[in-house]
C-alpha cells in the first residue's frame, strides 16, 4: 500500500501542475467578467510553441532552452488570448462562441504548422525537465519523499504562482478592482475603474497562464507535441475552476483531486488493486463530480455574477 501511495502521489503532482495553472488562468479571466472556454486552445498553442522552440533551439541554447521554452509558451498563450479579449471586450461578441473559435483555430493552426515545418503532426523534443529530488526537503521523513522527491521543479513554480495570485487578487487594489469588474462592472465603472482595461488584463493573464500550462505539459511528462498529448485538459481545468468555486485555494484542492483521479485512472492497468475497477468511473469522475457540485452550489451562486456578460455602458 505504501509503495502504491509512493508511486501515485509524485505522479499526481506532476499531472496536477499544468491543470492547476490553466484553471488559475481561467480564474483571472472569469473574475474579470469574461468567460473563457478557449483555455484548451490557449494551452494548445503554448504546448506547440514550447515544442517548436525546443526543437529548433535545443542544439544551440543548451540547458537554458527548457526555461526559455516556457517563456515562449507563455507569450504564445498571450498572443492567442488577445483575439478572445478583442472579441469579447471591445466588440461585445458572444464570449462562448469566441472561445470556441479560439479552440478550433488553435487546434487547427498548431497541426497545420507542425505539418508544414516538420512534415508530421507530431513534434518530439530532446531536452525537457527531469524529475529530481529537492535537496534537504526530500530528506524529511514521510512528507519528504512524497512531496519533494522525484518531482519536476515546475510544480513548485506553479505553487509559487498560485500563492502570488491569491495575494494579488485578495490583498491588493488591483485584485479588488479586477474582481469588481466581474461582479458588478457598472458600479466599478462609476468608481472610476476602466472596465475594458481590467477585462483585457484578465483575459491576457489567463492566456499567459494557460500557455504556460501547455508548455509545462510538453516540457515535463509529454515530451512530444501532438493533438493527443493534451486532449481535453483545458476543459478539465474549466471543471476544476468551477469545482474550486472560482477561488485560488479552491482550485488548488480541486486540481489536486482531479490530478490524482487522472493518475489513478492511468495507473489502474498496472496496479493489481485497481485492475478490476472499470476505467470509466475514474475517467468520468471529474466531470460527474463537477455536475454534482454545480447542483449543490446552485442555491448559493458561487461564480462571478457578471461573468459572460458583455459590458454595456448604457445598461444599468
Amino acid at each position: 500500500m505504501w509503495n502504491l501511495v509512493m508511486s501515485i502521489i509524485p505522479l499526481s503532482l506532476a499531472y496536477t501542475a499544468p491543470l492547476l495553472i490553466i484553471a488559475l488562468g481561467g480564474l483571472y479571466s472569469e473574475r474579470s467578467g469574461v468567460v473563457n472556454i478557449g483555455l484548451e486552445g490557449m494551452m494548445g498553442i503554448g504546448a506547440f510553441a514550447a515544442a517548436l522552440f525546443t526543437v529548433s533551439m535545443q542544439g544551440t541554447l543548451g540547458g537554458a532552452t527548457i526555461w526559455l521554452a516556457l517563456v515562449v509558451a507563455t507569450l504564445a498563450g498571450v498572443a492567442l488570448s488577445f483575439f478572445h479579449a478583442f472579441a469579447s471586450v471591445s466588440l461585445n461578441a458572444d464570449q462562448v462562441i469566441s472561445g470556441t473559435a479560439v479552440n478550433m483555430f488553435s487546434a487547427a493552426l498548431t497541426v497545420y504548422l507542425a505539418r508544414w515545418i516538420t512534415g508530421s503532426a507530431n513534434v518530439q523534443i530532446k531536452r525537457f525537465f527531469i524529475k529530481t529530488d529537492v535537496p534537504f526537503l526530500s530528506k524529511i521523513p514521510i512528507i519528504g519523499p512524497l512531496l519533494f522527491g522525484n518531482a519536476y521543479i515546475t510544480t513548485y513554480l506553479v505553487l509559487a504562482i498560485i500563492v502570488l495570485s491569491w495575494f494579488l487578487l485578495y490583498r491588493t487594489r488591483f485584485g479588488l478592482r479586477l474582481r469588481a469588474c466581474g461582479e458588478n462592472p457598472h458600479s466599478a465603472d462609476s468608481m472610476g475603474i476602466n472596465v475594458k482595461n481590467m477585462r483585457y488584463t484578465g483575459v491576457l493573464i489567463s492566456g499567459a497562464l494557460a500557455g504556460l500550462g501547455g508548455g509545462i505539459v510538453i516540457m515535463t511528462y509529454a515530451k512530444e507535441f501532438s493533438q493527443l498529448t493534451y486532449n481535453g485538459l483545458g476543459f478539465l481545468a474549466l471543471a476544476a475552476l468551477i469545482f474550486g468555486k472560482w477561488k485560488p485555494w479552491g482550485i488548488l484542492g480541486s486540481s489536486l483531486f482531479f490530478g490524482t483521479a487522472m493518475t489513478v485512472a492511468n495507473m489502474s492497468i498496472i496496479v493489481p488493486a485497481l485492475k478490476n475497477v472499470p476505467n470509466i468511473f475514474l475517467n468520468t469522475f471529474p466531470y460527474v463530480i463537477t455536475l454534482v457540485a454545480l447542483v449543490l452550489f446552485s442555491s448559493s451562486s458561487a461564480g462571478p455574477k457578471a461573468s459572460g456578460e458583455p459590458y454595456d455602458v448604457s445598461k444599468r
Binding site: 472556454i37 466588440l91 478550433m104 481535453g232 470509466i280 475517467n283 466531470y287
Partner: protein
C-alpha cells in the same frame, strides 16, 4: 453608389451580409496563411473545389453530400437551441453518444435490415435526446448554465465510449470498434451505384427531412412559437402562461436528438465503426453552420453544403498541393470568429457607407 450606401446603412441588411462577409474573410485569412507558408492559395482552393466534386466528378460530389449530412444535423441542433434561447455546445457529445448507440445496436443485435437499421437510427436519436435531457433538467431545475453542463457531458461521452468500445465491441485494434454489418448500415447499393461508388447514404434524406420538420415546428406550430417565446424572454413567456421549465427540457432533448441523428448518419452511414478517445469536430462545426445559416433551417442546409464541400475537398487538396488539410479547420474557426464579432463587420460597413456620404458631400460643394 447612393443605393449601395443606403443598403449598407440598414441594420437588417448588415445582419444578412455578415455571413457572406465572414466566409470571404475566412477564405482571405486562409489565403494569407498559405502565402506566408509558401503555398499558392488559388491552386489550393481550386483543388479544394475539385476534390469536392464541383468540377463534375459525381463520386466526389457524393462524398461532399455525405459530409454535409451530419453537418446539417449538428447545425440544426445548435440552431434549434439558439432559437429557443439555449446554447448547445454539447452537440459533439450528443452526436458521439448517438453514433455509439447506433454502432452498439449494429454490432450487438442480429436482425433483418428492415428492422435493424430503423432500430439503430431510433436508438441513436434517443441516446442523443437523453444526453441533451440532463443539461436541460439541470438548467430548468437548478439554473445551471447549459454551456458548462454540456461541456461536462461531452467529456463524459468521450470516456464512456473509451470504456465500452474496447470492452464489448473491439475491432481490429483496441482503439476502435468492429465494423457494423450491412443490415445496420445507412448505405444502400442502388444509392452507392447512383453516385459511382461513393459512400453516400440514406442519412442525407433524413437530414433534409429533419430540416423541413424543424422549420415546420418553429414556424407553423404553437409548440414552436412557445419555444421561441421562451428564447426571446423567459419571464414574459412565463407570465403568458407558457411552461418555461418543461420547454427548456424539451428544447434540449430535441436539440440532442438532432445531434444523435447526426451521429447515426456519420458512424453507421460513413465510417462504419467508432474510434475511441476523440470528440467529433463536426459537433463544433455545427456552431459555425448555425451561425452562418442565421439559425434558420434553410440557411443551415446551405451552410452545411459549404462546409461539406470544404471537408470533402481537403484531403484532395493536401495530396495535390501539399497544403496541410487543417487549413480548412482554420478557415472555419476564422469564419466563426467573424460571425461572432458582428460589431467589427458592422463598424466596417458603417465606416464604408459614411465615407461614401462624405465624398458625395465634398463633390457637391465643389
Amino acid at each position: 453608389m447612393h443605393k449601395l450606401k443606403a443598403f449598407l446603412s440598414d441594420d437588417k441588411n448588415q445582419n444578412r451580409l455578415i455571413p457572406f462577409l465572414s466566409i470571404i474573410l475566412g477564405f482571405l485569412v486562409g489565403a494569407i496563411i498559405m502565402v506566408i507558408s509558401g503555398y499558392n492559395p488559388l491552386a489550393a482552393y481550386s483543388k479544394l473545389l475539385q476534390g469536392a466534386g464541383l468540377y463534375g466528378n459525381l463520386r466526389r460530389f457524393g462524398e461532399t453530400l455525405v459530409l454535409m449530412t451530419p453537418l446539417t444535423l449538428t447545425g440544426l441542433a445548435v440552431a434549434f437551441g439558439m432559437r429557443t434561447g439555449l446554447f448547445n455546445i454539447g452537440a459533439s457529445g450528443q452526436m458521439l453518444m448517438g453514433g455509439f448507440a447506433a454502432i452498439a445496436v449494429g454490432l450487438l443485435v442480429d436482425l433483418p435490415k428492415v428492422i435493424h437499421l430503423p432500430l439503430a437510427v431510433l436508438v441513436a436519436v434517443a441516446a442523443g435526446a437523453l444526453w441533451g435531457m440532463l443539461p436541460g433538467i439541470l438548467k430548468s431545475k437548478f439554473n445551471i448554465h447549459e454551456v458548462v453542463s454540456t461541456i461536462m457531458m461531452n467529456w463524459i461521452a468521450v470516456w464512456t465510449v473509451y470504456y465500452f468500445v474496447p470492452t464489448y465491441m473491439m475491432g481490429k485494434y483496441n482503439t476502435e470498434s468492429a465494423a457494423i454489418p450491412d443490415t445496420a448500415s445507412l448505405r444502400f447499393e442502388w444509392l452507392t451505384n447512383l453516385f459511382n461508388g461513393s459512400s453516400i447514404n440514406f442519412g442525407l434524406l433524413l437530414a433534409l427531412a429533419s430540416a423541413l420538420l424543424i422549420w415546420w415546428v418553429l414556424e407553423k406550430t404553437t409548440f414552436g412559437y412557445e419555444l421561441k417565446a421562451v428564447g426571446f424572454n423567459r419571464d414574459a413567456a412565463k407570465y403568458a402562461g407558457i411552461k418555461v421549465n418543461r420547454n427548456v427540457v424539451l428544447s434540449m432533448m430535441i436539440s440532442g436528438a438532432l445531434a444523435g441523428l447526426a451521429g447515426a448518419t456519420f458512424y453507421i452511414g460513413y465510417t462504419d465503426n467508432i474510434k475511441i478517445g476523440e470528440l467529433p469536430s463536426l459537433g463544433f462545426d455545427g456552431i459555425a453552420v448555425a451561425l452562418l445559416g442565421l439559425n434558420t433551417p434553410l440557411g443551415v442546409v446551405l451552410s452545411a453544403l459549404l462546409f461539406g464541400i470544404m471537408n470533402a475537398g481537403k484531403g484532395f487538396m493536401q495530396a495535390a498541393t501539399g497544403v496541410p488539410n487543417e487549413l480548412v479547420q482554420i478557415i472555419i474557426a476564422v469564419i466563426i470568429f467573424f460571425a461572432a464579432a458582428t460589431q467589427l463587420i458592422k463598424r466596417w460597413l458603417r465606416y464604408f457607407a459614411r465615407n461614401e456620404k462624405k465624398e458625395k458631400a465634398n463633390g457637391g460643394e465643389a
